[in-house]
């Protein structure tokens, strides 16, 4: 793993991506300590002010400071992205390991369920989950997570099928290791590389799908600061206040580019076979 870290460090793109991510995460965590102003505070006298010294990203139609809202909104967007990947990872590891290791009718059943989930394009599947659970940021996170589970199951099961044929797994079994122990202690560590790569790239997808659902009005409600919500808020002010949408738009894009830069390099270093992943 340290070799991987060293390799990552040597690639400029990954370092740049990592630095941007560190900055975004740092700002999100520090939040109020950096911004000083209240993201919800209205000031109609300053409504729709263009970017200036006192408001570097401008203000929206209620005079709220956009920079403050972008920094505060980073929390919700990052939590949605990370949380969704944790859900997808948990579901994917559970189903994928069982499916690949157990084989037989269990494998057949799980894979048919995954086939059905795959028949719903991710945003549509997320829309179905929101339709059942209702609106809100937590439900959006669950929806995005569920919609990514099939991709994780397929990747994990495929890798388990390859690894379980290796001689050292045969040896672990011959030494009397129980199936559960063999799966968790011997198979799992050997499939982690591609899983880490997918999880990283999936953070980028989650941030985009999560922000999309918020943009459509299915996520947190205004005035809660969130990138998708704020971008949607600026739609009707494109002519008089393009900066309302520009702040959150640039924030989403920069974060996703950074995640992709790190993810692409991780993939090249850990598992170059996954090149097709970025094309999913």
């Amino acid at each position: 793993m340290t070799a991987a870290v060293r390799l990552l460090w040597r690639r400029k793109a990954a370092v740049l991506g990592g630095a941007i991510l560190a900055l975004v995460v740092g700002l999100a965590v520090a939040g109020p300590a950096v911004t000083r102003t209240d993201p919800l505070k209205m000031n109609l006298l300053k409504a729709l002010s263009p970017p200036s010294g006192s408001h570097p990203f401008g203000t929206d139609q209620y005079g709220r400071d956009i920079l403050t809202r972008v920094i505060t909104g980073a929390r919700l967007s990052l939590v949605t992205g990370l949380g969704a990947v944790v859900i997808a990872l948990a579901g994917g590891l559970g189903l994928g390991l069982v499916s690949g290791a157990a084989g037989g009718w269990i494998d057949l059943l799980i894979m048919r369920i995954v086939d059905v989930m795959m028949a719903f394009p991710s945003v549509l599947l997320a829309l179905v989950v929101v339709a059942v659970l209702g609106h809100g940021s937590t439900n959006v996170m669950v929806a995005v997570g569920v919609s990514l589970i099939p991709t994780f199951v397929r990747l994990i099961r495929g890798n388990v099928l390859v690894v379980r044929e290796q001689a050292y797994i045969e040896a672990a079994r011959a030494l009397g290791g129980r199936p559960r122990r063999v799966t968790l202690q011997h198979i799992l560590p050997n499939i982690l590389a591609p899983v880490i790569v997918l999880a990283t790239i999936a953070i980028a997808w989650s941030i985009i799908i999560g922000a999309s659902l918020s943009f459509l009005g299915l996520g947190p409600r205004p005035p809660i600061p969130e990138w998708g919500v704020d971008l949607s808020n600026g739609r009707n002010y494109l002519l008089r206040g393009w900066w309302i949408s520009a702040g959150p738009g640039v924030a989403i894009m920069t974060t996703v580019v950074a995640v992709n830069l790190v993810g692409d390099t991780l993939r090249d270093v850990l598992d170059p076979r996954l090149r097709s992943l970025t094309n999913l």
Binding site: R112, V116, P121, V132, S212, G217, S245, M253
Partner: protein
């Protein structure tokens, strides 16, 4: 060929069955009294509640309800929209052509732009052109469609005034939404064309073509392009689902009619019969398109068919 088609159909049937179960389950998974939840957005009178309850007959055993749902769906009866009171199938029939038009235009843009960028990058690997096109591709992959859509509206409608920003009808209103979806996929296509082209260019038969004195243009267009396109066809098939998802967002950004906008409005209004109908038709359409892509793939590359036939 016929055998292959049969095999693919046999694989698609369980998926279609599963999709119908999921769509049927949407209403049954709702927390609390589904009838009250379904009418919660509509300010319903007690009479309407009673009417819907009688119509849905939730007290029947679940298997009976599913059989009834399936029987009706098979003849195109997907229920009645709670809001418009129109049959769901009519609502969908009104919106579907607009989405198909948008999807077709988006694919055309994605393939045209992606091919050019990808080939240019592959012909001069590691040149500034290669780096630039891959940089554009990274931007395309990382750009959420709603953000790109707003940028295009801002630039081409509001600032330059070249194209209308919203609405329906005519190719001028189609360009911006189609470009919003298409450019994102052009990025994916470009990355793939580049790697697939580089791989093909390394093959011995390309060396042979060059050795027999063919002009580079003929080598690229006649010998390399066809072989490099095979994975591109698959990825377009795989991406069609995401393209459909893209229409959900882009139709909202550009206030265009279509299935995507219908789906979002239905979810926002909690119009469950409409949600079920739109989801069912979209998912089945996706399954059908994937089937067609697989079959066309096997026509382009006969190896697949034979491998499939042997298995």
């Amino acid at each position: 060929m016929f055998v292959y088609l049969q095999q693919r159909l046999a694989l698609a049937l369980p998926v279609v069955f599963g999709v119908s179960v999921v769509v049927f389950a949407i209403v049954h998974l709702l927390p609390g009294d589904p009838v009250l939840v379904m009418l919660s957005g509509a300010n319903a009178t007690p009479e309407q509640v009673a009417e819907l309850r009688a119509q849905l007959r939730f007290e029947d055993p679940i298997a009976v309800q599913y059989a009834r749902f399936l029987r009706r769906a098979l003849v195109g009866d997907l229920g009645v929209s709670i809001f418009s009171k129109r049959p769901v199938i009519e609502e969908i029939a009104d919106q579907l052509p607009s989405t198909l038009e948008l999807a077709a235009a988006a694919i055309a843009i994605a393939v045209a732009v992606g091919l050019v960028l990808g080939i240019l990058a592959a012909l001069r690997p590691n040149s500034w052109l290669d780096r630039l096109s891959m940089l554009v591709a990274l931007g395309g992959i990382s750009m959420p469609s709603f953000w790109l859509g707003l940028l295009l509206i801002f630039a081409f409608s509001l600032e330059l005034g070249w194209l209308p920003a919203t609405g329906q009808g005519g190719w001028r209103r189609l360009i911006l939404p189609a470009a919003t979806i298409g450019l994102g996929y052009a990025a994916v296509v470009a990355r793939l064309v580049r790697s697939s082209f580089l791989e093909v260019l390394g093959n011995a038969y390309i060396g042979t073509a060059r050795a027999k004195g063919l002009a580079e243009r003929a080598v690229v267009l006649k010998h390399a392009l066809g072989n490099a396109l095979i994975p591109v066809v698959t990825i377009i098939g795989v991406q069609l689902g995401n393209l459909l998802a893209g229409t959900i967002i882009v139709e909202t950004v550009f206030s265009r009619r279509g299935m995507g906008r219908l789906a979002v409005t239905a979810v926002l209004d909690k119009d469950y019969p409409l949600i079920q109908g739109v989801v069912l038709v979209s998912a089945l359409g996706y399954v059908l398109v994937n089937l067609l892509v697989d079959v066309s793939y096997s026509i382009i590359d006969p190896r697949i068919r034979h491998r499939g036939g042997a298995a």
